[in-house]
Symmetry: C4
Subunit: 233 residues, 4 copies
């Protein structure tokens, strides 16, 4: 049995949740799960349909995206995952989808404005949409540069990846992450729902105001603050 | 067996209907059911997924939201439910969801205009959207003030909670209620459909007129008036 | 066994198709099936959920909507069905739903413009939206007047109910019909899809032109004309 | 056993995927599969519901759309398929649907603009919408002319059917194709998702810019170029 069996299994299970949650069509998505002690992560193989995906198909690579274990070619987005793992040490898993509403905002090159408490329960700022990359970055090491584009956008905005666990890449689609695979997948589903609600609010009322600061703080604090009182922990 | 077994069971069953009706994602919703003689109500525990929820997880609290029975922490919205039960004596159950279209209207801070007989079969006025609370209310006893914000909006509009069994809380999401748990859940599903139809009508025809008064009266009367002739009773 | 067993069964089966086709929420719809030789029609009882509906619940009434057989109260829309059966002798069944997109157009008080061949395969004109009734009609024998409002709108437009088997009632919702129960239900599903496509086309391109006459004629003729070559008959 | 058994079976299986992928209502779609050596193709019979369709119902016709084998009348769109097979020798299968969002764009008579990498992963240009035919073409051999309208539009735009495997026919609906039946069906589902995302992006941001050229080239190349690194081949 593989010494990476645990992350292969959790990676497999997390990938299988994407079609169940309605977040992917065909192979348009992938999840990775990291083992920081071993310096590797598990990721979905490229272009394999979810209906036939098996645990043993999951590929193990290092933080330079070099193959470590597995017969198949890893996801074409592997280098993007690698860059994020390298720079954001608190991340345990990353999810990439082309979920419909989140991708529609990414294509529109717009941040998703914070309009309600559904959004504020999860993050206190607009969902950032990183601008499309420069031609140089695109023509260079594209997937690696995709990771750097995300890092630079967070740096420029002064965002903390532990507080904001999702991003839209302009013209492309969303990435989400979290301490665990469950949380990263949860964030992808939440992002899609936030994106859908904001689409509806903005098209019914183009002058919709952003959520007031007091509500943003309150909802985030009750779920994530020191005295959080949401959930059972 | 608990002396509150009956409301725990009906509360459990009503909660389980929310995902079946497509009204909740993950844990974004809760139902409570009251026992007025015993002065308590049953409510969903906070943050517990519907897939694993069991009857014995349901929490019993009094009208001040103090715990009476149950191992788990009650829903973070419990104080809002408590305020409504205290002031509206005819209510038997309350439902809170973040259903997509109703929440989109709440985020847009707009009443849902009465545009058709689907709406008029259930209420004779626009679905009210209570404005977001003042900063003082938000920073204070937030969930309790949420209940008062709803009460005050109904008072200001001159609405009767027995006639209008639903409200949007601006920037947040809908609450519905009814004499029974079934009716309260039914109202949440009806509200979501009304919200969706009104969204479509308003985006295809921004000048859509409100329903004429004669039709409002007729449809409401045939379902709820003295000589009602809808249904089998 | 009832002498009306055959229309009770086909009425029951046709009603059960409405939730399967996603055309009704709760009890928001009804189908009737006529027996012209016996001068009666079978119709869904009022307010009975589809999950519990049984063949023996179906009610038999005459063309004045008087009860002929059955324990339950017939649909509150029974008089509308009766008027249409009285005046349009070629109709075998009628369907009323509050399907989402068709109802949204009815609420918007707009005809559904003919924009494509999906529409032209079924009718050669815009789907008519009859205007809301006058206050006098509403306050009078409302459901009966609903039938007359539809008749008058067709007369005014010069439409033939055999060529145009669907109508929107302004502020209310759609009615469809056909020679058979299957065809009437089919028309309700087609109308909902036409309504949805037209909504999307009109919101993406508000200047969308109506379908050109040559295409309207061609598509309708190939399906319904003398030399029709669609289908197996 | 028929000498065309293999294409009859793959044609049947491909047709059955259309309702599974949510691309057809009732009988609004058809797939054909060609056998170039025998000079025939297999196609769905006209107007037969997917629920009752059987392998032996599939009809075999030649490239002039003359019947070769089968009891049933072939799809009314058969001549359109025949023209495309005659002129585009690299095509192995053709799919025609009235899928909702793609048809909405066809009705709006608009190309679907290339706005994101989901689109660019499949084609480097806007999805072409061929203009509605002239009255002469419509009144003539309509379905045959439909094929020529597609051919002429591709010629006028300088598009290669091997690079652009989908088209909208203005006022009508989409056609897609591919080397295999699987690929042609896949293209229909991808087109519907691209159409939906573009609808959402354009309605939330009417000034949305087209995807930059560097991104178009990069995404297409990584999936289809000489050094493609997507998938397992």
């Amino acid at each position: 049995m593989s010494q990476y069996q645990d992350i292969k299994e959790s990676c497999f299970e997390a990938n299988m949740k994407l079609p169940q949650l309605g977040l992917v069509l065909f192979t348009f998505g992938n999840v990775s799960v990291v083992d920081r002690q071993k310096g590797v992560f598990a990721i979905k193989p490229s272009g394999v349909p979810y209906e036939t995906l098996k645990v043993e198909d999951i590929v193990i690579v290092d933080f330079e995206a070099n193959g470590v274990e597995g017969q198949m070619r890893p996801s074409s987005d592997t280098k993007t995952h690698a860059v994020l793992y390298q720079h954001w040490e608190g991340i345990g898993a990353i999810v990439h989808t082309h979920s419909t509403y989140a991708t529609a905002w990414a294509q529109a090159q717009m941040d998703i404005p914070i309009l309600g408490t559904t959004h504020a329960d999860h993050l206190t700022v607009d969902v950032p949409c990183a601008p499309p990359m420069s031609d140089e970055m695109i023509k260079g090491n594209y997937e690696k540069e995709t990771g750097f584009q995300i890092l630079q956008d967070f740096e420029k905005r002064g965002y903390d990846y532990k507080e904001v666990e999702m991003v839209l890449l302009g013209n492309h689609a969303p990435f989400t992450w979290g301490k665990t695979a469950d949380k990263a997948v949860y964030n992808s589903a939440v992002l899609e729902e936030i994106a859908r609600m904001a689409y509806l609010s903005c098209t019914i009322n183009p002058q919709v105001p952003r959520l007031k600061d007091a509500l943003i703080d309150k909802h985030y604090e009750r779920k994530h603050g020191k005295n959080a009182y949401y959930g059972q922990e």
